[in-house]
């Protein structure tokens, strides 16, 4: 709540010329690590926009709500946004499960641009729902192929264990991975987000001699698992999806792990480097994909408002009208959207945790 008040203050202070501000909503698990990064991306975008004169001469304001990654809360927040005529569009939600639940509410009412909700179930869920991250069905394909490459001729590396957080994101990504991995799956087990039983799974995977462990989950379960693996001295190639980006906060545990990401901070493109510089300057840390995706989503909505004005339908139509010849230049790539609301043209890369940072040097 404190952060939200601060955000509002910043938004208003950024362009305090008294003009009626344009307001957009934002929703995510702000207390989670990836939630914080998501908020930072939004704040940075907002700062830059309002500092450069706002949208159509008016300041842009963000009404940010915490959905705690809970689909029920997300649906309730979505209903609140839809009911508030001041809200022109929504940045978020962050989680696939939350986004799936909220999509039913936004359908036909309000444009929502999800940041990191990558569940395949979101594809085509509503013409009013877009996302700046590619679908897990695509990410899973990339991750599965990557796992195949790692294996090479090493028979051990043909045995993989798959753990997934038992929610829309985890199931979606794990399912895509399973469909694309050509080796042997020693296990395919659901885990809870807190991963209380990491010891059991690590012990089991160790006993079954899994060469690769793919975990479709987020940083909390990832860190627990990685720490337990290190404790049991379980040596394997650990691969995670974009949910694993936050593992860099524990370099000791995360060192060497592979992470699929839609953002590459090392991208030499000018806008990427400017974004990274501005982010580092402001938050004293490198931006990750969550921050980059929310930064892009916020700027995409601001662009739509400046193009079409403060009409909900106009914003939706603008975003849907983007195409390969006229894409939105985001830091995650030039974006336009399929009929199902998935981004086309944005990249998804595999990065490795090396000395506390994600590096994509060797990535495709």
């Amino acid at each position: 709540m404190k952060a939200r008040a601060l955000l509002l203050l910043l938004a208003v202070a950024g362009c305090g010329r008294g003009a009626e501000p344009y307001t957009i909503g934002a929703a995510g698990p702000w207390k989670e690590g990836y939630g914080v990064m998501t908020r930072r991306g939004i704040e940075l975008a907002l700062d830059e926009i309002n500092r450069s004169g706002g949208v159509r001469g008016s300041p842009l304001r963000v009404d940010a709500r915490d959905d705690q990654a809970d689909p029920t809360r997300a649906a309730a927040i979505a209903e609140g946004f839809v009911a508030d005529p001041k809200i022109l569009a929504v940045v978020g939600h962050v989680n696939s499960g939350a986004m799936l639940a909220a999509s039913r509410v936004y359908d036909g009412q309000l444009t929502a641009v999800a940041t990191s909700a990558s569940s395949p179930d979101l594809t085509g869920v509503s013409p009013w729902v877009f996302r700046v991250i590619s679908s897990d069905s695509l990410n899973g394909v990339i991750l599965g192929r990557f796992a195949n490459q790692i294996g090479g001729r090493d028979q051990l590396l043909k045995r993989a264990g798959v753990l997934y957080e038992n929610d829309a994101y985890g199931r979606g990504l794990a399912g895509a991975f399973r469909r694309n991995f050509r080796g042997t799956l020693v296990t395919f087990d659901p885990i809870s987000p807190k991963m209380e039983d990491a010891e059991t799974f690590v012990a089991y995977l160790k006993a079954r001699q899994a060469g690769i462990v793919f975990v479709a989950g987020r940083e909390e379960s990832a860190l627990r698992f990685l720490r337990e693996a290190r404790r049991q001295q379980f040596k394997a190639v650990f691969v995670g999806g974009d949910g694993w980006q936050g593992i860099v906060t524990d370099p000791a545990a995360a060192e060497g792990a592979y992470v699929g990401t839609s953002f590459n901070a090392d991208d030499p493109r000018k806008e990427v480097q400017e974004f990274v510089a501005a982010f580092e300057k402001r938050f004293r840390t490198k931006p990750d994909a969550f921050a980059a995706l929310s930064y892009d989503a916020t700027r995409l909505i601001a662009k739509a408002i400046s193009e079409r004005g403060g009409k909900r339908a106009g914003i939706r139509d603008y975003i849907a009208s983007l195409g390969p010849e006229r894409p939105f230049a985001g830091v995650t790539g030039p974006a336009y959207f399929s009929a199902g609301g998935d981004p086309l043209g944005m990249g998804f890369r595999i990065a490795q945790v090396s000395h506390g940072v994600l590096t994509t040097g060797s990535a495709q």
């Binding site: 799936l100 199931r171 399912g175 659901p190 006993a207």
Partner: protein, 573 residues
């Protein structure tokens, strides 16, 4: 107002047609509305119950799948059969896909989404716990696996509780939906009834309106007709705003009233004229009547005049009778005069012969003179007698003359009829005058004769000597006698003339008498005619009286007519 104006231009037929069209349209609309309402309701009911059915089926399949999944998970713990593990995973995957189809399904019932989201999370917990239990069992840590299994069972209980809660919530939601459907049905029924009521009201309004459109002008026209029948011709029906037929009828009645009013005005004028004419006629007929009275009086006078004329003519006739008688007498007298003249002539002839003889005897004269003296004396006497007779003739002549005069006067009075008579009377008068003259001559001659006879006698007496003288005297006497003879002749002739004249006179008198008779007859005819005229005049007078009374009646009638017309007019005022 617009409706009124619209109806004004319309005929009853059109009004009725429009009314019926609106009614039919209302019925059709009400029917369509009812149909729409009921079909909408049935669609709602259908959708709701289809959804409920789907949801129940899905929920049932979901529950069944979960039950099978838990069964498989539990059996893996017992037998470590990889097939059970695969079945557990497959069913789990199916259950989550089912759940996803729930969430992507349209959420018609409140709380549906929340319920299913929670159930998915609970199922995930159960799966996670079983997965841990399986791995523990695989690792041979049976005790821990059993603990996990127990934990899983409590989670299953929570999941089943959640499923039950969903069922209850769904049932509750269905009950609410059923209630709201019932409410909706009631609302729609009310709406339908309201629409029908409104349609009925509009229908009644249209019917009333149509009836009024017909009855209102009809009443006005009936009122007009009643006023007409009471004689009020000034009444007009306002036709503006009436339906076509009534407008035509009203215009026709107005025309009829106007025509009638004009006719009555004309009749009033005519009645007045008639009254005036009748008055004139009455006065004229009165005058005529009076004139007729005067004429009758005058004719009466004429009649009495004619009567008195007849009377006078009769008197004249009688006088003429007298004249005739006297003329007869005069003829007789003239005959006598004639006879006397003959006698005088013969006497004178004989005297002359005697004279001649006397002369011869003169010588004896003394004797004879004496004798002659005696003779002379006798002669004197005769002369006196003649004289007397002549005087009487003169008197007759005088009388005749007077008669002729009177006759001519009467003839003059008789007019053209008496013209011939007047000539006769003139002739008679002349004859009478000549008779008078002749008589006077006779008187003078007889006087002279007498004188001379006296003288002769004296001379004879005085002188016998004067015989020569006597002789000469005798001759003279002879010649005197001859004269006498001649005179007598003339007298005779005169007498004869008198006779013939007298006869003519008689004839004339007779003619006159005949004429007079004719005159009398004529006068009588005239009198009769006058009487007839008088009678006719009386009749005319009576007719005039009748005419007067008739014109009085006419006057009365025209006055009544005028009065009636006046009433008509006053009734109209």
């Amino acid at each position: 107002m617009r409706l009124r104006r619209a109806i004004r231009r319309q005929t009853i037929r059109r009004t009725l047609f429009a009314g019926f069209s609106v009614l039919v349209a209302l019925i059709v609309i009400a029917g369509l509305f009812g149909w729409g309402t009921i079909s909408g309701l049935s669609t709602d009911v259908n959708e709701t119950f289809t959804h409920a059915n789907d949801l129940t089926q899905q929920s049932s399949r979901f529950s069944h799948t979960i039950a099978q999944e838990i069964q498989a998970a539990t059996s893996y713990l017992a037998d470590h059969d990889p097939a059970s593990e695969r079945e557990f995973r497959r069913l789990g995957w199916d259950a989550h896909r089912m759940h996803r189809s729930f969430t992507s399904h349209r959420n018609d019932l409140p709380g549906e989404l929340t319920n299913t989201i929670l159930v998915d999370a609970r199922l995930a917990e159960v799966e996670n716990t079983f997965a841990v239990a399986h791995r523990l069992a695989d690792l041979g840590r049976t005790e821990a696996a059993t603990r996990q299994a127990r934990k899983a069972r409590t989670q299953v209980a929570a999941l089943l509780e959640e499923l039950n809660r969903i069922d209850r919530a769904n049932n509750l939601a269905f009950a609410r939906a059923a209630t709201s459907l019932g409410d909706e049905a009631m609302r729609r029924s009310m709406l339908l009834v309201s629409v029908l009521a409104i349609a009925l009201l509009i229908a009644v309004f249209i019917a009333t309106r149509t009836a009024r459109v017909i009855s209102h002008p009809l009443r006005a026209l009936v009122k007009h007709a009643v006023q007409l029948s009471r004689g009020n011709l000034q009444v007009r029906t306002r036709t503006a705003g009436l339906p076509g037929e009534f407008r035509t009828l009203g215009d026709t009645m107005n025309h009829a009233s106007e025509s009638l009013a004009r006719i009555v005005d004309g009749a009033a004028d005519t009645a007045e004229d008639v009254a005036r004419s009748a008055g004139d006629l009455a006065s004229a007929s009165k005058q005529i009547s009076e004139s007729a009275g005067e004429i009758a009086e005058a004719v009466g006078e004429v009649s009495s005049g004619a009567e008195s004329q007849v009377q006078q003519i009769r008197t004249v006739n009688r006088s003429l009778e007298g004249i005739r008688t006297r003329a007869d007498d005069m003829v007789a007298g003239a005959a006598e005069v004639h006879a006397l003249a003959g006698a005088i002539e013969s006497e004178a002839e004989s005297k002359r012969a005697e004279m001649t003889r006397a002369l011869k005897i003169l010588l004896d004269v003394r004797n004879i003179v004496q004798k002659a003296g005696a003779e002379v004396g006798a002669l004197t006497t005769t002369a006196a007698e003649i004289n007397n007779f002549v005087v009487s003739v003169g008197k007759i002549a005088e009388q005749t003359n007077l008669l002729a005069l009177n006759a001519s006067v009467e003839a003059a009075r008789a007019g053209p009829a008496g013209r011939g008579f007047a000539v006769v009377a003139g002739e008679v008068g002349k004859l009478a005058e000549q008779t008078q003259i002749t008589a006077d001559d006779v008187v003078r001659l007889t006087e002279a004769v007498t004188t001379r006879v006296t003288t002769t006698s004296k001379a004879m007496e005085n002188s016998a000597t004067y015989v020569a003288e006597i002789e000469r005297l005798g001759r003279e006497l002879n010649s005197a006698l001859s004269t006498i003879v001649a005179a007598a002749e003339r007298t005779r002739q005169a007498a004869a003339a008198v006779t013939s004249s007298a006869r003519e006179n008689v004839r004339a008198v007779e003619n006159a008498a005949e004429n007079l008779t004719l005159v009398i007859r004529t006068a009588e005819g005239q009198a009769t005619a006058a009487m007839q005229v008088s009678a006719s005049t009386a009749e005319q007078s009576a007719a005039c009286v009748e005419m007067t009374s008739a014109s009085s009646q006419l006057l009365q009638g025209s006055k009544q007519l005028k009065g009636l017309v006046g009433e008509l007019k006053t009734a109209a005022a």
